[in-house]
Amino acid sequence: MTDRIKKVVTGVVGNDIHVVANRLIDISLQARGYEVFNLGVNTYLEEFIDAVIETDADILLISSLNGEAEGWCRDLQFLRSEYQLKDVVFVIGGNLAVGEAKCEDIVPKYKAYGFDLVFHQIDLNTGLDTLEAFMQDRITK
């Protein structure tokens, strides 16, 4: 992996229209030097995958706030291997369950769906710091 400017595809998955975090994520990623392709709210999984392929993105950063992400992410493993996207970092964050849920339960579940990094109810900056550390790790390896 080279040190060129990283490309991120981002957006809010499914029938979810919570846009506020999405606007802040866009600003924050740009401030951190990423090239951002923001698909906005109400974006389906297939659209995300298409955009990743089209832009040759390094990172797919999905938000979900309305609690319904699980319904949309079951097909991820399949899509990921079908399109051979193993080098793309898959990240999801926001509010990842209907009702109150604990990170201990949520994180393994979503990792099993094929996400590399999972941030349930984690503050944006903490999440993006972790993401940067993760990317750094990859380069050194």
């Binding site: 029938n15 229209i17 999405n22 109400n42 319904e68 319904g71 209907v98 009702g99 109150e100």
Partner: protein, 455 residues
């Protein structure tokens, strides 16, 4: 067969819906107990009614929720619909309902009303015999509202603007206006059978830094669109702004202008009520503090003399609340309203004058649009940014208005975009904030202002 009837036929013949028996439905509404009509409750009560939000996927869990609410001495039951149904994705709703029923895990964030159907749902509504309010967020709510009314749900929240600009990205606005016209017509028609069906607009919009003038203009327009079609009971609403003064001023001006415009179109026979939403923006991540915030909202609702208050729960920041938590919020709110007596009359002449002037300017611009019907005027006004809702995810929204909080936490307009407010009013808005030239400083301030209720 009238055009409306044809449309009705098409809509209600949906593979995911009940078979509609309209004769039976009319008879049901005609003989329905008065207790199911909130318009009737409004008429015969002078206290602030309390209503939570709430919807669970399965019938049994929804029934259990109503049972909890009843114990908390609730005034108005909610029926919140899941987001698939909101986007007319009945297939997904059905699939997720099945998964929820099988796994005892909620795979939907609300009650899939169309999927359950009116025959089933009506059993529950008539069992509890308390007014139910439909909370959805659906641009094309035709089938949903047919199902709701047939179920005995006689308050319908929403409107073409308030349920579109905050709730949708791509749904065509012109279609939303037409679909809601259908809803108004049906509500008006059923209103002649018994007590009036109540319509309610959704004032909180995106709940994120929306200035009062935009909220109120949209309230007035949706009210007019509804009264035009013959609706006789309408609730305008708004959410806690974050400044007590701005809430009081908004209530006073909303009350005044609503009556003014209703009268202007010859509809002063309709009953207009005011609904106050407890803080609708981002909640603190501490449940004790959330309780404090919720109670503070209740006190303000009483101070602004709301006819109804819609309550949040201490679980807001985390997810759909448990039913016990939700019922506790209702009980707490009812208690506070009970012990909160001796309410003073409050007003602020300068602020009210300014807000009223802004509203009349925008309304004038809308009404002066060259289109022939009110909905087209409203449509054009949104399209060209005369009405512009901050943080709307919808592609048609202009996104040029920028607001920020002043030292008193009042939401002030710092970029007016295409808003047709006078220079004087704009100067009044800006006079309350001192802005940094640094653009990132402004952005950081906005981020802070979004999290204004964080600990």
């Amino acid at each position: 067969m009238t055009l409306l009837k044809r449309e009705r036929d098409i809509i209600t013949h949906n593979e995911y819906a009940d078979r509609f028996d309209f004769d039976e439905i009319r008879e049901f509404i005609t003989n329905a107990p008065k207790e199911l009509f909130i318009s009737h409750t409004f008429k015969h009560s002078n206290k602030t009614l309390v209503q939570p939000r709430g919807g669970f996927p399965t019938y049994n869990k929804m029934f259990a929720l109503y049972h909890e609410f009843q114990k908390a001495n609730i005034d108005v039951m909610p029926l919140t619909v899941d987001s698939h149904t909101r986007l007319n994705d009945y297939a997904s709703a059905k699939k997720m309902l099945m998964l929820s029923e099988e796994n005892e895990v909620d795979m939907l964030n609300g009650y899939p009303l169309v999927t359950h159907g009116y025959r089933t749902t009506r059993k529950m509504i008539t069992h509890f015999n308390t007014p139910v309010s439909l909370r959805h967020g659906t641009p094309d709510a035709r089938l949903l509202i047919e199902t709701a009314l047939a179920s005995g749900i006689f308050e319908i929240e929403g409107g073409p603007i308030t349920y579109l600009l905050p709730y949708s990205k791509n749904f065509p606005l012109d279609k939303a206006f037409l679909y809601w016209k259908y809803v108004e017509k049906i509500c008006a028609e059923y209103s002649t059978l018994n007590e009036p069906i109540n319509r309610e607009s959704f004032g909180p919009l995106t709940a994120t830094l929306v200035p009062p003038c935009i909220t109120i203009v949209i309230q007035l327009l949706e009210m007019l669109l509804s009264l035009e079609e013959g609706v006789k009971s309408f609730s305008v609403s708004f959410a806690q702004h974050g400044s007590v003064m701005q809430d009081i001023v908004s209530a006073n001006v909303l009350r005044k202008t609503a009556n003014y415009y209703a009268q202007k179109i010859g509809c002063s026979d309709a009953t207009i009520n005011i609904v106050y939403h407890q803080w609708m923006g981002a909640f603190p991540r501490n449940k004790e503090l959330s309780d404090s915030l919720i109670n503070t909202s209740t006190v303000i609702a009483a101070l602004v003399r709301a006819d109804k208050i819609i309550v949040k729960t201490r679980d807001e920041a985390f997810g759909i609340p448990t039913m016990q938590c939700n019922a506790q919020s209702v009980a707490n709110t009812k208690y506070t309203l009970q012990v909160l007596n001796g309410l003073p009359n409050i007003s602020d002449a300068a602020e009210e004058e300014n807000l009223e002037a802004e509203i009349h300017s925008i309304m004038e611009a809308v009404l002066n649009d060259s289109a022939d019907t009110l909905w087209r005027k409203a449509f054009n006004s949104i399209k060209n940014g005369i009405i512009d809702v901050p943080f709307s995810p919808h592609i048609i929204n202009h996104n040029a208005v920028i607001t920020i909080r002043d030292a008193q936490s009042n939401i002030r307009i710092i970029e007016k975009g295409k808003l047709p407010i006078s220079e004087k009013c704009f100067a009044f808005e800006r006079s309350h904030v001192s802005l940094s030239d640094d653009k990132t400083a402004v952005i950081n301030k906005i981020i802070c202002d979004i999290g204004v209720m964080h600990e």
